[in-house]
């Protein structure tokens, strides 16, 4: 399941959530930070809600089980909202809401990060108090589902790290140095003193900050997790599934989402754009391209795969790619 999710992330173009994670995942499993195979336990539930304890199993395994629980409840009761404790890194958030949409329902998901990952400053602050806190939703259409998968910060930390490695600058308006001044220098972010990533929205960053607070509340606090204390789990994951059968009906719902999409795409493109698409289209096109042509894997990532193999006693040669 984890391998499938990593490869699927690569197929969709989310290389930062793809096989480059393998070495860390294997290391975490070997050192017990991830408890592979640990059963998921329902701590508390009603017909429409649940708190589950993921037992530090791989986040992909836990989140997939949560999708099943949420969708089963939503099919019965119209909707469901499930939150996790002790959940490890779930990977690409969009994959879970996509599964909900594939069942004809609306899926909404949030994911916070434990305290050690608080690299994002609150609006007006110069110290990290939030993770990059993504939120995602997906809705069914007759073709590809609409899928939005966005962080509530300007950029992910991975981009800052990559810029440092490549000796490049970060786009302006995304990071501050350790004393709070705007910078484009990734080294000024890493300090010391440590800098911060800004909340999404540039001069309107109070909106991204507010959305990030919502992610904390939905994905962490609702499960009883204290954001100010570092947790053994990595991600506070939450999932809402809504069955349109309880509302306007599933057939009409999908028809109307289709119409909404066609209406958006009918807008004349602005200068610099060739077309208007709906959220997710670029990702699904990338998936078709990579299914046909393969996934490009650079030397660093392949070395990480070789490193992961070595950790479990398997020797891979570079030319085995």
């Amino acid at each position: 399941m984890v391998a499938d999710d990593l490869v699927e992330a690569n197929l969709m173009g989310y290389d930062s959530h793809g096989v480059m994670r393998l070495e860390t995942y294997v290391d975490f499993a070997l050192t017990g930070r991830v408890k592979s195979g640990s059963p998921l336990r329902i701590v508390k539930e009603t017909p429409v809600t649940a708190i589950v304890d993921c037992g530090l199993n791989f986040g992909q395994v836990s989140a997939a089980q949560m999708v099943n629980i949420a969708c089963a409840k939503a099919k019965q009761a119209g909707m469901a909202y499930i939150v996790a404790k002790n959940c490890c890194h779930v990977g690409r958030l969009g994959s879970y809401v996509q599964k909900v949409a594939e069942l004809g329902m609306l899926g909404i998901s949030t994911c916070n990060n434990r305290k050690i990952g608080h690299v994002v400053a609150p609006w007006g602050g110069r110290e990290g108090r939030l993770g990059t806190n993504p939120l995602a939703f997906a809705a069914p259409t007759k073709g590809w589902p609409v899928v939005l998968d966005m962080s509530t910060s300007m950029i992910p930390e991975g981009k800052v790290n990559l810029a440092r490695e490549e000796r490049k600058s970060v786009p302006s308006g995304c990071i501050r140095d350790g004393v709070g001044n705007p910078t484009t220098d990734p080294n000024a972010f890493y300090g010391p003193p440590r800098g911060t990533i800004l909340p999404f929205g540039s001069e309107y960053g109070y909106k991204g900050y507010g959305l990030s607070m919502l992610v904390e509340i939905m994905g962490g606090i609702m499960a009883g997790e204290d954001a100010t204390v570092d947790q053994p789990g990595f991600n506070g994951f939450s999932l809402i599934a809504i069955d349109p059968e309880a509302f306007c009906g599933a057939t009409l719902f999908t028809d109307l989402v289709d119409r909404l999409c066609a209406y958006q795409m009918s807008a004349a493109p602005a200068p610099g754009f060739n077309e208007v698409v709906v959220p997710g289209v670029y990702d699904f096109r990338m998936r078709e391209k990579r299914l046909a042509e393969g996934i490009p894997v650079d030397d660093n990532v392949w070395n990480a795969v070789v490193g992961a193999a070595r950790l479990v006693g398997i020797t891979l040669q570079p030319d085995q790619l």
Copy 2:
């Protein structure tokens, strides 16, 4: 109820949703576009969901009834999600989630606009296909609730209109002219040809666009409304209420939200800021100030109040302010 809501919007500093709306509201009631006193009818419901038909009553009246329905269901079942048909202008969206938070629950709300209000372009487009589509949430604390009330566009149309009246420019990156080029000239927005407001997020506007699509789906489509056809209602309003008693417990929930807020506010301020606050604090401070000092009402707004009075045969003098 409508008057209370308008004054409350002014108190909170949302003058664009305050008494300046009175003249339009009275006109709408007199001409039958708003059907004052029309009963709210539940079209379809389950213990956790409902579609209601607001019958074109004042949006404030309908939305307040929906808050009661959602909160009663959530207290029984753990959560609820209610959507509206034929709902008129609901005013300040934050006021409804705030009422949910005052009952110790998490409130999330969205509000779309009918087709005639599609002044916002999809990402990469130069024709309007979306409203300014706000979303809001509120969570309880021991003091003021956390309240985020944000549009998913760069700016509201009201700001463009105001800039035109005051012969000022609009901040850069917010609007395009009728052929899709960036502009700061409000006249270039009004055309003809008509321009567009950009989705929230500047060069990352695909995020605001995606959130706006979610608002369309949650606030319009789920109720069976077709976004591509102009509706008699003004706003597709939706409300989710979540009772933390079904999750970590109400007391712990409020404690943890308090801790999250204190943690954010403990961040050292960035240059140019005196403090870090949580969403809603500036609004509640404004409310205290205006309760003490009164609400400033400029001549244009007072003239609109006088005009509204005249429409129903009441003569107000300017010095009656």
